[in-house]
């Protein structure tokens, strides 16, 4: 029979309260969602994964990958990612130009998706390098893509990083709650889906760029 061991250390009530609090923070206040209040750009950043599938999928892959690593890395990886995203976003605000960042989302989908699908756990230095690189690219690309629409990029960046944190926290909590055989398989299947999407988009963008230069 398939084992159904549930992590006994989880505090369901505490998680519910935290989830409710975080969920309440996402309810839009009509007067403050746009216009003069500074919270508008923070909110826009918070919702970046919701409206950008190319931002959401790498983050989902990141969260799923983190659940496959050692317990010490499970929460460290998203934390390092968020720290690097802050740095990447700051670089965008300061005007640094990095052309390669345009390839970041699909590359992240492919690499992280493959890692999840194969359930690979590379050496810690590689894990750290991937988290830092991914975070830098995510933070940079997020700011660059929204530069024309936001007034306060620092607030947008903080909101985007908070969004990453919320998404990773919720998804990892859900996956780690059920440490069963079928949850592990479901995670790997999701990783293969994301890797497939990343491969297709990478090739599509490459072919479009080649036709544009041809």
């Amino acid at each position: 029979m398939i084992p159904t061991r549930v992590d006994p250390n989880f505090q369901p009530r505490a998680v519910s309260v935290l989830l409710l609090a975080i969920g309440l923070m996402t309810i839009p206040l009509p007067a403050s969602a746009h216009g003069s209040l500074a919270a508008g750009d923070f909110y826009t950043g918070l919702l970046q994964p919701v409206f950008h599938l190319d931002a959401l999928l790498p983050l989902v892959a990141l969260a799923l990958w983190s659940t496959q690593l050692d317990e010490s890395e499970a929460w460290r990886v998203p934390a390092v990612f968020i720290g690097a995203a802050l740095v990447g976003g700051a670089a965008a605000i300061l005007g640094f130009k990095v052309q390669a960042a345009a390839w970041a989302p699909q590359t992240a989908m492919l690499v992280l998706g493959l890692l999840v699908a194969t359930s690979l756990s590379p050496p810690k230095i590689i894990i750290l390098a991937l988290a830092v690189t991914g975070g830098l690219a995510h933070g940079y690309a997020g700011l660059v893509n929204e530069q024309g629409t936001i007034q306060r990029p620092i607030l947008y960046l903080l909101g985007a990083c908070a969004g990453v944190g919320l998404l990773c926290f919720h998804l990892e909590s859900l996956v780690l709650r059920f440490r069963t055989f079928w949850m592990r398989i479901s995670v790997r299947v999701a990783g293969s889906w994301i890797a497939a999407i990343g491969l297709l988009i990478s090739v599509l963008e490459f072919s479009r760029a080649a036709r544009g230069h041809g």
């Binding site: 369901p12 519910s16 839009p28 969602a33 493959l114 299947v189 293969s192 297709l200 988009i201 090739v203």
Partner: protein, 202 residues
């Protein structure tokens, strides 16, 4: 449903309910993500050859048991994506529709005859046909404005059809379930023969 499963379901439901007004209230700019996702999601569903073949992959995996039951759903999307790459690059793959129809015949036949080859052989067979399916989806990708959403749509739809096939495959746990599953495979194979016959030059 156990207590923990119910609690997790409640948490997930609460998250979805709370996030929904945020999605509804914020503005959406740019390309139509929802439209692209829907187009991609319905693409495999519009072709009975795709649906039958994907169901057969799931059913055959369930019939073969572990580890095929989970190896195939993990490996299939990525191999399908390789076929999609060929379609995006407009590389020539002969007789794509015939390959898709043939996959229905072969996979249905494997279920009907309860063929249990070694896992590598099963994976190669499924992978071979996955390329044809992926090519058919990938060839439409360059014309999509919401490419990521389109990809997500057809990859997820394909995966869900697999899971449905696996679910159907669990009929083997019922009395005479194995025979029922083989009969289902036979029906799929017959449908595939009809599809192949439709493609033959008259």
């Amino acid at each position: 449903m156990g207590w923990h499963a119910r609690h997790a379901a409640q948490q997930l439901s609460m998250l979805v309910v709370l996030i929904t007004p945020a999605i509804a209230a914020a503005h959406v700019t740019g390309e139509s993500v929802g439209g692209g996702f829907l187009t991609g999601f319905t693409h495999p569903l519009r072709g009975p050859d795709h649906v039958l073949a994907m169901l057969a992959v799931g059913m055959w995996g369930a019939q073969l048991g572990a580890p095929a039951i989970w190896v195939l759903p993990v490996a299939f999307p990525m191999v399908m994506a390789l076929g999609g790459v060929l379609g995006i690059l407009r590389l020539s793959l002969p007789a794509v529709e015939f390959g898709v129809a043939l996959s229905v015949v072969m996979l249905g036949g494997a279920i009907a005859t309860d063929r249990r080859p070694p896992l590598p052989v099963a994976a190669i067979l499924v992978g071979f046909f996955a390329v044809f399916h992926g090519y058919a989806h990938g060839a439409e990708l360059p014309g999509q404005t919401a490419a990521v959403a389109y990809c997500a749509g057809f990859v997820i739809a394909t995966g869900l059809i697999h899971l449905t096939g696996i679910g159907i495959g669990f009929v083997t746990r019922a009395p005479r379930g194995a025979e029922i599953l083989r009969a289902g495979g036979g029906a799929i194979s017959l449908a595939g023969i009809y599809l192949v016959w439709q493609l033959l030059p008259k």
